[in-house]
C-alpha cells in the first residue's frame, strides 16, 4: 500500500522513519510546552525518568505495554487479511468477561494450574466470539466490518453494564463490581515471579501475562509468514481474486482471521481481570483497544514493530502520568495532547517524511559502493 517507501531499504522504512516521526512529534510537543511556559527538556526528562527511571515505573510501563501488544497484534493480524478491526475494545471487554466468569465459577474448586489455562481459553473464546459475529456479517452478508465492529463495542459496553449492575455485582455493594477472586484466581505478579527466582523487584501491576504476550508475538509471526494458513490470509488481504484463483475461500479466511484477532484482543481481559484487578469491574479496557490501532499502524503491522510501538506507548502512558503529577502546569489533557501528537506523526502522517528521506538516501547512496543495494 505504501509505494513511496518501496525503493528504500528495510532498515530505513521500519527503523529510521519511525524514529524521525517520533522526533517530530516531540519537537512539536516541546513547542507547545514552551508556549505554556515550561521547559520542554525538563518535561521530557520527567517523562522518561517516570517511565524508565525506576523499577516501579518500568513495571507500569511494561504492564501498559502488555495490553498494547495484545490489541496491537489483534489489529495487525486483521490488517494482513485486509480487514480493519476497530472492535478491539469490545473484544477485550468480552475477553475479560470470559475470564471473570470462569474465575467466579471455579476459583474455589480448582488450583491456579488449571485456572490459568481455563482463563486463557475463556478470554480467547469470548473475544473471538465477539469478533466472529461482525466477521460472519462481513463475509456472508456484506456488512462492512468497520461499522459492525464499532457497533459491537457499544453493545459490549452496554452488556457489561447490565451484567455488572444486575447480575454479577457483589451482594451488599454499591459499586458495580464482582467479588474478588480467591488466590487461585490471581495470575502471579512479575515481582512475585521474580522473587521466586531470587530477583527482587518493586511492586507493580506487571504480571506474567507479558510472557504470554511475547509468546503471542512469536506465534503470530510464525502463523502469518510461515504457515499455509497465514499464506492464505495474506493472499486474501493483498489480492482476493488471486486467492480465489488459488482455491482459497476468502469467507472462511475472514472469519478465522477475525476470530484470531478477537482472541488476541480478549487477552487484555486476562491481563486486567485475572492479572491486576482480580475481580470483574467496568471500564477496565480503558481505550486499549483503540490505542491498539495506532500501535499496529506504527509497528507496520509486524509483531516486532508492535512490541516496539507498545513499549513506546507504555512509556507515553506511564511517563505521561508522572509528568502530569510532577509538573502542575502540564495537565492530564496536555499529556493526552502529546500522546495524540505521537499517534498523529507516526500513524496518520507515517509516510510524510518518506519522500524526503528517499531523496536524501538516493543522493547519498551513489557515493557508497554499489554493494549497498543487496544482491
Amino acid at each position: 500500500m505504501n509505494t513511496d517507501s518501496r525503493s528504500l531499504p528495510r532498515w530505513i522504512d521500519i527503523g529510521l522513519i519511525p524514529v524521525i516521526n517520533i522526533a517530530l512529534a516531540l519537537i512539536v510537543s516541546g513547542l507547545i510546552i514552551t508556549v505554556i511556559g515550561e521547559d520542554p527538556l525538563v518535561a521530557v526528562t520527567v517523562m522518561v525518568k517516570g517511565a524508565l527511571g525506576y523499577q516501579e515505573g518500568i513495571g507500569y510501563t511494561l504492564y501498559y505495554a502488555t495490553n498494547f501488544i495484545f490489541t496491537g497484534l489483534a489489529v495487525a493480524v486483521a490488517f494482513h487479511a485486509g480487514l480493519f478491526n476497530i472492535g478491539g475494545e469490545g473484544q477485550a471487554y468480552m475477553g475479560g468477561l470470559g475470564v471473570g466468569l470462569v474465575m467466579l465459577g471455579f476459583d474455589a474448586a480448582l488450583p491456579i494450574a488449571l485456572l490459568l489455562p481455563l482463563g486463557l481459553l475463556a478470554s480467547a473464546i469470548f473475544g473471538a466470539a465477539w469478533a466472529a459475529v461482525p466477521a460472519y456479517l462481513q463475509a456472508y452478508r456484506g456488512s462492512h466490518i468497520v461499522i459492525t465492529t464499532i457497533m459491537f463495542n457499544f453493545i459490549a459496553a452496554a452488556l457489561m453494564v447490565y451484567l455488572m449492575v444486575n447480575v454479577l455485582i457483589q451482594p451488599g455493594q454499591m459499586s458495580p463490581q464482582s467479588r474478588e477472586f480467591s488466590m487461585s484466581g490471581h495470575l502471579p505478579f512479575m515481582h512475585e515471579a521474580l522473587a521466586w527466582i531470587g530477583i527482587p523487584f518493586a511492586r507493580s501491576p506487571l504480571n506474567v501475562s507479558i510472557v504470554w504476550a511475547l509468546l503471542c508475538c512469536l506465534g503470530l509471526g510464525a502463523y502469518i509468514w510461515r504457515t499455509r494458513w497465514g499464506y492464505e490470509l495474506r493472499a486474501v488481504g493483498h489480492n482476493e481474486r488471486a486467492a480465489v484463483y488459488a482455491g482459497v475461500n476468502p469467507r472462511r479466511v475472514i472469519v478465522v482471521t477475525m476470530c484470531i484477532s478477537g482472541g488476541l484482543a480478549g487477552f487484555v481481559g486476562l491481563n486486567e481481570v485475572m492479572g491486576v484487578h482480580h475481580r470483574l469491574l467496568l471500564d477496565f479496557t480503558a481505550g486499549y483497544g483503540f490505542t491498539g490501532i495506532a500501535v499496529s499502524l506504527m509497528g507496520r503491522n509486524h509483531p516486532i514493530g508492535v512490541v516496539l510501538a507498545s513499549l513506546l506507548f507504555g512509556v507515553l502512558y506511564q511517563g505521561g502520568a508522572e509528568l502530569a503529577f510532577e509538573v502542575p502546569a502540564i495537565t492530564r489533557e496536555m499529556v493526552v495532547t502529546i500522546q495524540g501528537l505521537v499517534i498523529l506523526f507516526s500513524g496518520a502522517l507515517a509516510y510524510m517524511t518518506a519522500p524526503w528521506v528517499e531523496r536524501v538516501y538516493h543522493a547519498v547512496k551513489p557515493r557508497r559502493a554499489p554493494a549497498a543495494s543487496e544482491a
Binding site: R6, T227, A246, G247
Partner: protein
C-alpha cells in the same frame, strides 16, 4: 547500427533552422531494489516521427515511458522536450510539456460519457457548462483534423475496446499533446481495429505530431514507424531507421541471438475426451449471460483455440471452467467428475482433478504482487504436503522449487526472494506458466499466454505448450492473437457475445476469415 546512430547524432547537432527533436533522453537510469530497469538509456526522437520502441519483456521499455510520463522519477539522467531540459515529476508535468500517454489498461471512468472522460481533469470555472461547450467544439475540431470520431454522448461501459482506445487518444490530444506515447496499443484489437488505429496515427503524423509506439509486434514496427529503438536488459542496443532494417534483424537484436521463425509441430492423433463442456451458461451479476449455451470437447493431445474479440465471454469461460465463477446452467466434465450448478467444484478441487489454469490477467489473478516470487510460485499448490514441515511451511523445499521453476523457464532475475510485482510482465508470465505446467496437468486452461510478452519468450512459451500437448495434455487456449491461435491450435472455436459461432480445423483458418467471424460479419458456419 552505425547508420542509425549517425542519423541521430546529426539530428542532435542540427542546423538552427530545423526544429529540435521532440524528445531527447540522456543517460536515464532507474532501479527498483536490486532490479536495474533502465541503465544509461539515451535516445532521440525527431519531431513528426513515429518512433517504435521494441524489446523483450523486462527490457525496460515500460519503465522508460513511465519515467517520461512522470509516473516514476529517474535515478539519473536528463529529459529534453523540444530542446528544453524538463523535470517531469508527475503526469501533470508531462501533460504540461505536451506529452500524452495511452496506457495498455485504459484509464477511463466507466459510468461517464466520452465527453466527460475527455474533459475530466481539464475543466475550468465553477460550473461545468462552459467546459462542456468548449470540450464539445474542441472534439469536433479534433474529429475533423484526425478523422477520429467517437460519439461524445456514448457511455464508456457500452463502447467496444477499439473505441475506448480512441477516447484515450482524444483525451491526450484534448490536453494538447504533441507527443503521444502508446503502450502495446494493439494487444486488445482485432486486425480491422488495428488498421484503423494506424490510420489515426498516420493522420497525427501528417499534422506534425510525434508518436512513440511501444510494441512487441515487429510487423507493426515495420508497417508504421519511421525510426525504431531496440532495448535489451535495460539498455539501448540499437537505434535504426525502419526502412533500413528488417524484422529478422530487429528480432535478433531484441533477443540477442537468432530465433527460429517456424514453430515445429508434429501431428499427433487426439486421444480420449479430457474435458467435455455441455450447454454451459454463466451469467453476470445482472443475469446477462456472458457464456451462453456453450458446448465443446477437448481430447488429450489436442489444443483447441478460442478466437474472439476480448470481452465476448472468453474470460468468463476460463473462469467457469477453473471453478472461479459458478456454473449457472449446463455442465462440464473433467477427470470423471461432472460439475453442474448443483454440484459445484472450487478451484482447489479442480486442481486435484489435474486441471491447471494460466489466467488471462496474470497480475490480478495469477499472482500476488506483494508476495515474493517464491510465494507466488506455489500459489494454488500451497497446501501440497511437499511444502509442509509439520504446521509450518518447508521454506527450503519452496525455495528449491521456485529456483527450479525459474531455471527451467529462464525467469530473470532468478531470485526467489524478489517481489513478484517487481518482475517484468513477461517474467511474471513465465513464472506462472512454470508453476502450472510443472504439474503435468491433464487439462490446461490458458488465457493470453503471450500478452505483452517479447518474441524470445513467445517462442519459448509456444514450444512449451506444444510439448505439453504432445505429452497428452488437453489444452484450451484463449487468445486475442490470431497468429498465436492459428500457430498452436488443432481446432479453433470462435466466440461472439458468449456463444460459439463457428468451429473449424486450424488448417482451414486464415486471419481474414477468422476476423470476420469474430466480428460476426460472416454467416454462422460450423464444421461439425
Amino acid at each position: 547500427m552505425s547508420t542509425g546512430d549517425d542519423r541521430l547524432t546529426n539530428d542532435r547537432a542540427a542546423v538552427p533552422s530545423s526544429p529540435p527533436p521532440a524528445i531527447e533522453l540522456h543517460g536515464i537510469s532507474k532501479s527498483f531494489g536490486p532490479v536495474q530497469a533502465n541503465q544509461n538509456v539515451s535516445m532521440t526522437i525527431a519531431a513528426g516521427d513515429i518512433h517504435g520502441i521494441v524489446g523483450e519483456n523486462g527490457a525496460g521499455k515500460s519503465t522508460l515511458m513511465s519515467i517520461l510520463y512522470g509516473f516514476y522519477e529517474a535515478d539519473q539522467g536528463e529529459i529534453r522536450v523540444a530542446g528544453q531540459s524538463v523535470n517531469i515529476a508527475s503526469p501533470d508535468k508531462a501533460i504540461a510539456a505536451g506529452i500524452g500517454m495511452v496506457h495498455q489498461h485504459f484509464m477511463l471512468v466507466d459510468t461517464f460519457t466520452v465527453l466527460e472522460n475527455v474533459m475530466m481533469g481539464a475543466e475550468s470555472g465553477v460550473l461545468l457548462s462552459g467546459s462542456i461547450t468548449a470540450a464539445r467544439s474542441e472534439l469536433k475540431r479534433l474529429e475533423a483534423e484526425y478523422d477520429l470520431y467517437v460519439d461524445p454522448k456514448a457511455v464508456i461501459e457500452d463502447l467496444p475496446v477499439g473505441e475506448l482506445q480512441r477516447v484515450e487518444i482524444l483525451k491526450a490530444l484534448y490536453r494538447g499533446a504533441k507527443v503521444l506515447i502508446l503502450d502495446e496499443p494493439t494487444g486488445v484489437l482485432t486486425p480491422q481495429e488495428t488498421e484503423q488505429l494506424f490510420r489515426i496515427l498516420k493522420a497525427l503524423k501528417a499534422q506534425g505530431g510525434t508518436v512513440i509506439l511501444i510494441t512487441h509486434k515487429l510487423r507493426e514496427i515495420m508497417a508504421i514507424t519511421d525510426t525504431v529503438t531496440v532495448m535489451r536488459h535495460g539498455k539501448v542496443v540499437a537505434s535504426k531507421t525502419t526502412a533500413e532494417t528488417s524484422e529478422a534483424e530487429l528480432a535478433e537484436l531484441m533477443v540477442g541471438r537468432k530465433i527460429r521463425a517456424e514453430l515445429q509441430r508434429t501431428e499427433v492423433a487426439a486421444g480420449a475426451v479430457a474435458l467435455r463442456v455441455g450447454h454451459l451458461t454463466v451469467r453476470d451479476a445482472y443475469q446477462v449471460p456472458r457464456v451462453d449455451d456453450v458446448s465443446f470437447e477437448i481430447r488429450a493431445h489436442e489444443i483447441v483455440g478460442v478466437a474472439g474479440v476480448s470481452g465476448n465471454g472468453q474470460s468468463e469461460l476460463l473462469e467457469a471452467l477453473s471453478g472461479i465463477l459458478p456454473v449457472d446452467d449446463g455442465l462440464f466434465e473433467i477427470g470423471g467428475r461432472r460439475i453442474t450448478p448443483n454440484a459445484p467444484c472450487d478451484p482447489a478441487q479442480l486442481r486435484a482433478l489435474h486441471l491447471a489454469h494460466v489466467p488471462e490477467d496474470r497480475q490480478r489473478l495469477g499472482m500476488v504482487g506483494e508476495f515474493s516470487a517464491r510465494e507466488s510460485a506455489i500459489l494454488g499448490y500451497h497446501n501440497d504436503p511437499l511444502y509442509q514441515a509439520g504446521f509450518m511451511f518447508n521454506q527450503v523445499a519452496i525455495k528449491a522449487k521456485c529456483a527450479d521453476l525459474m531455471t527451467q523457464f529462464d525467469v530473470r532475475p532468478p531470485l526467489p526472494e524478489a517481489l513478484s510485482a517487481n518482475l517484468s510482465g513477461g517474467n511474471q508470465q513465465k513464472l506462472i506458466l512454470a508453476r502450472e505446467l510443472n504439474r503435468a496437468p491433464d487439462v490446461l486452461l490458458v488465457g493470453q499466454p503471450t500478452r505483452g510478452v517479447d518474441i524470445g519468450a513467445i517462442e519459448f512459451i509456444h514450444r512449451q505448450l506444444i510439448e505439453l500437448r504432445d505429452r497428452g495434455c488437453a489444452i484450451l487456449l484463449v487468445s486475442v492473437e490470431l497468429e498465436e491461435i492459428m500457430a498452436l491450435s488443432d481446432r479453433i472455436l470462435v466466440m461472439f457475445e458468449g456463444r460459439i459461432v463457428a468451429e473449424l480445423p486450424a488448417a482451414d483458418a486464415d486471419e481474414r476469415s477468422l476476423g470476420l467471424l469474430m466480428a460476426n460479419a460472416a454467416p454462422v458456419e460450423t464444421a461439425h
